[in-house]
Point group: C2
Chain length 248, copies 2
Amino acid sequence: MASVHIRPLIHKIRGVLALTNEEEEALASLPIRLADLTKGDTIVREGDRPTQCCIVIGGVTCMYKYTGDGKRQILILHFAGDVPDLQSLHLNVLDIGIAALSRATVAFVQHEHIRRLYARFPRIGDVLWRSTLVDASILREWMLNIGQRPAHARMAHFFCEIVIRMKLAGLDDNGAYPVYLTQREIGDALGLSNVHVNRVALEMREQGLVGLTRGKLVIPDWNALKEAADFDFAYLHLTQAQKSVVDA
Amino acid sequence: MASVHIRPLIHKIRGVLALTNEEEEALASLPIRLADLTKGDTIVREGDRPTQCCIVIGGVTCMYKYTGDGKRQILILHFAGDVPDLQSLHLNVLDIGIAALSRATVAFVQHEHIRRLYARFPRIGDVLWRSTLVDASILREWMLNIGQRPAHARMAHFFCEIVIRMKLAGLDDNGAYPVYLTQREIGDALGLSNVHVNRVALEMREQGLVGLTRGKLVIPDWNALKEAADFDFAYLHLTQAQKSVVDA
DNA sequence: CGCCTATTTGACGCAAGTCAAGGGAGGTGG
DNA sequence: CCACCTCCCTTGACTTGCGTCAAATAGGCG
């Protein structure tokens, strides 16, 4: 009973590795449980001990964490093909929560099935491990961003990353990117207040760096944005195949 | 030619896994090249394509990253037994630099030897993978710390983590912890200016939360510090064995 | 049309940055 | 053994980026 839903994951893996038919079939026949989510739905919470991983099929999800006095930091976003809580395979208590930031579809796969897949196809295991390392690299860049860059560059950098990662996931809608982020959420991701995000966003709009209307992100001048962001691809660890997708 | 130098790594792995004699011997006979470093020495830099990993044997090292205009963010510290650039096994270009923050000894192991070790002893491979996930968890907590906590709590949190991780590595010198951090370095780790670190550090000293003299960190009142830090262990993913070390 | 949520705007305050200068402490060389 | 140099810590005065509070629009949706 091969599933068409798993396609985004296969697409993502293909960016790193040329899959054999056998491997692809094994992926396609992973037993999954689908869930449709609306904006704001929680997928897993801090302290959970999941027995399954979650694969993003469509929409945007975020990993987040709260301080004791209720301030939220959004740690990373995930798009179609990403597996946000792959770590739960090795760390049994979750240190983070994951929620949907837009309407989203996710697929749940029991750990045992992933482990069995690894055992049969170590190359797939390696790619998944690799993807956790790329996520860690993204975290590091965000930390640099939040710790050292002023609000303007910080936001620009955030948008640069989103654009590239959405392009990779095939979510480019003719130069518009359907993130459905509120300014409050952007603030939680950047360590800024919603009010300040608003001020900076208006400024960036005037400068023709980004447009953000009705949840769609538009970049009128990529080079200007990249410049403002002090942006360097390297941390995304793109393969040759992925680079050509991004450049297109 | 079994090496005594690798002990800290074995110690760390033992915190997670009871090693068989065979496994331990394989670890002890890993071919390594030792290097003695002085404070400030660079181990690897952004853009490198290493063919080896680096194991911290003694001292403190840090992973860091610079913005285009020369501001440094320290991303994570590493102590005896840690393997800071394990990621280089799967990602061939480094997105970060690593340097010594004190006099330090590190051991270099060629990738191929680590891969061979994995192949023979998958359990060791799993523990090493796990350790990259714990590092990622630490990064996430730092991001929350930098993004959402005010300077006072931020610093307190930083010290809490250092104490626990140094205890785990067996570096507790009767309640004093030999970090050799300058206030500038602490600032680079916390996204604060050195001047502000100084002001907050003095305040914390007056409150009896931490003492930091001649590179030795002393915690007069652990509970008070923990309280001030909004600190929760969970993100360190300690095993039962490790918890009992920390509580001691 | 009316409600709810998100964006926008303004006024104000503060945490933290910047600049600059002085004082220690450790290391080095004459 | 002293003189000097170099970091680092400390302090003060001043500035500013960003947060907070509060209220006024503007959109989307039932």
